[in-house]
Amino acid sequence: MERDLALIIPEIIVLLTGVVALVAEMLRLPRIALTVTVTGLLLATGMTLPLLGADTSIFGGTFRIDMLSVWAKLILLPATVLSVLLARTELGGSDREGTVYSLVCFVTLGSLVLAGAGDSMLLVLGILLSGLGSFALVAYPRNDSATEAAMKFFVFAAVTGAIMIFGLSYWFGGTGSTLLSDLSRLEEKPVVAAVGLIAVIVGLGYKASLVPFHFWAPDAYEGAPVSIAAYLSVVPKIGAILALTQVVRDLPMSTGWPLVIAVVSVITMTYGYLAALVQDNIVRLLAYSSVAQAGYFLIGIVAVGASPLAFTSIIVFSAAYAAMNLGAFAVVMHAGRTLDVFSGIGRKNIAIGVAMVVFLLSLAGIPPLAGFVGKFLLFGASIEAGFTWLAVIAILNSVLSLAVYLRIIVPMYQQPIITASGSAPIPLVKWVLGITFTFTLGIGLAAQVLLGRLA
């Protein structure tokens, strides 16, 4: 038991951080809450490092300390820190600022639970935990659009969550266990496996905003503060993707799940980019883009069990995605929510312009940026798993993605400056931009640092 607890020290730290931040907020000490949150999350990140290379499970297999969950911590905790810094910039000084930090900690905790889930019940609770805080965060401004977004978000969450639980009940009937590692018993009961899988796809798909469970995402991102949208598009999404990975790695191949995931992947990425193509609110555009990126994650999941590259590719792409998506949202936070305000911004503020171009090109998968390395590994994994057609479609979608991102890049450099905004970025945003920029470039150029650890 002591060993088990030692292995979840990072999670415990995150929990404590959230609680302490809440206490600080109650004492009306938002700066302390911020400091505590940042320190706590960084501490948790640090405490994760000794766990690198661990591959075990604790509490009777209900929670896994493996490659996926450890790297989830290493990626999601820093991403949370960056989001907190963004939130501080955007929401600092507002009423109950500290609750934001506290809730962010809980949502991250939920995502970490998802990423390491070894039991159906943890799956359910992880979704709930990461969802609850999210509703509150989205509704934080308490205005019309924010509450509308939160309400839609909530309804979607509740319905999909209920469907998932209902489906999971069949898995218990089929295996006699709630442990994911016992799913291999479903070899002879493919229908049960299928029903449960569909339910899981519904539940986790909602969290990861896969099509057709994505509808809440653009609305919620638009209604929420930009920093929260950035956070939601990264942390819970990656958590859900990793949870899906945890589920399918134990699912018998005979159920044909790779094909289903592949189909969902194709639909998701194509639909996401097509919808993004005609957006003019840049937050919605990025929302749809993040929907499409979720489709890319699924390419890696398809290869789970068939290609040794699968886990590597998912983790690398998660890291890349976190860096570039947060970066892009940070720029949006600095510049504004519509495409109009982006015209000429690249000329006025060269650093911001270069950073945004790098983030967007990375999202489009252009080498040598992080997104390229991630997608490259994903494609490699899927081809190795025999899903060449999936890689082909994904590659075709990359073209679509380019069109989407060029819609932002083009006006940045080519249209006259029409807005007066565009002051120098606030120091915190600068930091966030600097860090995400470094990682977007760094993961591209020095992918070995990641890959070496993953091998």
Binding site: D4, I8, L15, L22, I58, F59, G60, G61, T62, F63, E90, L91, G93, S94, D95, R96, T99, S102, L103, F106, L109, G110, V113, D119, M121, L122, L125, G126, L128, L129, L132, G133, F135, A136, A139, Y140, P141, R142, N143, A150, F166, Y170, G173, G174, K189, V191, V192, V195, P225
Partner: protein, 172 residues
């Protein structure tokens, strides 16, 4: 036909029936009450399936929950008394279709899957509770704790969302 079978069928039918009533009445309060009856019937069904602890818990929890729900219902409904015969539904046909398809699919799974051998006996009530307790504090401890944290989060989140903002945020 054993008694157990009868009770399961009876309470099941009652639960489903009250479930349907929830969406057939125009009165919010009646909806809440119907849901309460439905859940209670299910609690009784648990009892008849020899899951005593769960059955009792279900009835107790649902009673409280439904009463809270009724209060909110009155608060938020346009026509709490159900006097206006307002139709508070939309896309009925599609929803009905979806409901029926879901039902048929679920039944199909239940019927066509070979669930394996059926256990004739179950642990008695005391044993169940002991088992459950061991489960809670053993293997499932992390789950249990997570549930606790989730409840904490729910409290924070619900409060954060619900309380009146003191001053307007910069975002507006």
């Amino acid at each position: 036909m054993t008694a157990q079978m009868f009770f399961i069928g009876f309470f099941g039918l009652a639960g489903v029936w009250f479930g349907i009533v929830v969406f057939r009445t125009f009165s919010m309060v009646r909806s809440a009450l119907a849901l309460l009856f439905s859940q209670t019937a299910l609690g009784a069904m648990f009892l008849s399936m020899q899951a005593e602890f769960l059955g009792v818990l279900q009835i107790m929890m649902m009673a409280t929950e439904m009463s809270i729900m009724a209060i909110f219902m009155v608060m938020f409904m346009m026509d709490p008394g159900g006097l206006g015969e307002m139709d508070m539904t939309h896309q009925k046909r599609l929803s009905l279709g979806a409901g029926i398809v879901s039902f048929v699919a679920a039944v199909a799974v239940a019927v066509f899957v070979d669930w394996g051998p059926v256990a004739s006996v179950s642990p008695d009530a005391a044993q169940q509770t002991i088992d459950l307790g061991l489960e809670l504090l053993g293997r499932s401890m992390l789950i249990f704790e997570t549930a606790g944290i989730t409840i904490l989060t729910a409290m924070i989140a619900a409060t954060a969302v619900a309380i009146q903002p003191v001053k307007r945020t910069r975002e507006q």
